[in-house]
Symmetry: C2
């Protein structure tokens, strides 16, 4: 519907959170670099000045979107099961929860994993992502030192392969059915990631 | 150097193979869609008509490049160790060799994994890639049926996660040092992929 009174701004019922949901979709489709405020305005169906009412611009939207993914991931490390107990059990918890957070925050983690480039916001996201990976690599190395995990696979290499497995979800996982079905699928995938990385497919 | 005699074509010392090596790099940097014949001409340092002397156009270059990756991958399935013996051992061979082929043909497999879109050449590449994945999933399912692998992980899901692990290499693996160092790294990575997926990291 065309607004016939140009003096009256079109009603903008967005919150920062719902605006972010639209934004992250556009970023994932067109890439952050390839997205203009014009594209965001068109996708959201509100004017650019309405968007500027919520945020300072494209970079703040990126910060908020990857921040949401990073908060989810770093939150895992503060969970009791990630902080206490034998290293291998803590690693298992972190691997499982990382998979669950990726699925729960799929578009946001997808954006985080696709960020490249040289703006300050992108560099910050890359740095924080590497920091998270580093925490997991440390945990894996601790479990090797304690003798819980095998010493013949390099901890950094193993960490990369486990993240390769988890992060591949953004390429092929698409939630189907209702929330219950999605929760069940998420559970099955998290189990499979844990089993493959820690126990392997071979029957013992 | 500017050619001062426009009637004499500039010397073109390319073969299809060396032209392909330049092409695949440009495709990987700019995306297939985002690459023009002009871009290829600039990167190769020869005129567009010189490129047309070797190939019919951009689509044939894509066909040749992903064809090289696909030939490498499908070639694995014809190897004796992939075709004969217990299913789990055949799977192990295919997983190891897929990792090795990905490393040996890194730019070509990178292109294959990044192909999206709707041209006939891209659709064909996607179809053949799915066909290869399907062969591996079948092998994994056979190893579950024979009781060699655990039945509590869905074979299709396990296949996706194993490919997730292997394919992540295009994101983070960069060959370093001389051929011997690269071969050794490739070996270490292939071992780690096999160990993680079949035996897991936990000490048995």
């Amino acid at each position: 519907m065309v607004d016939i009174n140009p003096a009256r701004p079109r009603r903008d019922s967005y919150t920062v959170e719902t605006l972010l949901a639209v934004t992250v979709q556009v970023f994932n489709e067109r890439g952050y670099d390839g997205t203009s405020m014009e594209d965001l305005s068109r996708a959201a169906g509100i004017s650019k000045s309405s968007i500027y009412h919520h945020v300072r611009g494209k970079e703040e939207l990126l910060n908020l979107a990857v921040g949401r993914a990073l908060d989810g991931l770093f939150g895992i490390l503060d969970e009791p099961a990630a902080a206490e107990g034998p290293a291998a059990a803590r690693l298992e918890h972190v691997v499982r929860r990382t998979t669950e957070v990726l699925i729960a925050e799929l578009p946001y983690v997808t954006l985080l994993l696709r960020v490249r480039g040289n703006t300050a916001a992108e560099q910050w996201a890359l740095r924080r992502r590497r920091e998270f990976d580093h925490h997991v690599a440390e945990l894996l190395a601790a479990a090797v030192r304690s003798g819980e995990l095998r010493a013949d696979v390099d901890p950094r290499l193993a960490t990369r392969l486990i993240f390769g497995m988890i992060n591949s979800l953004v390429e092929w996982y698409r939630p189907e059915g209702d929330q219950q079905a999605a929760d069940q699928a998420a559970q099955e995938i998290a189990d499979a990631v844990v089993e493959l990385s820690l126990s392997g497919l071979r029957r013992s």
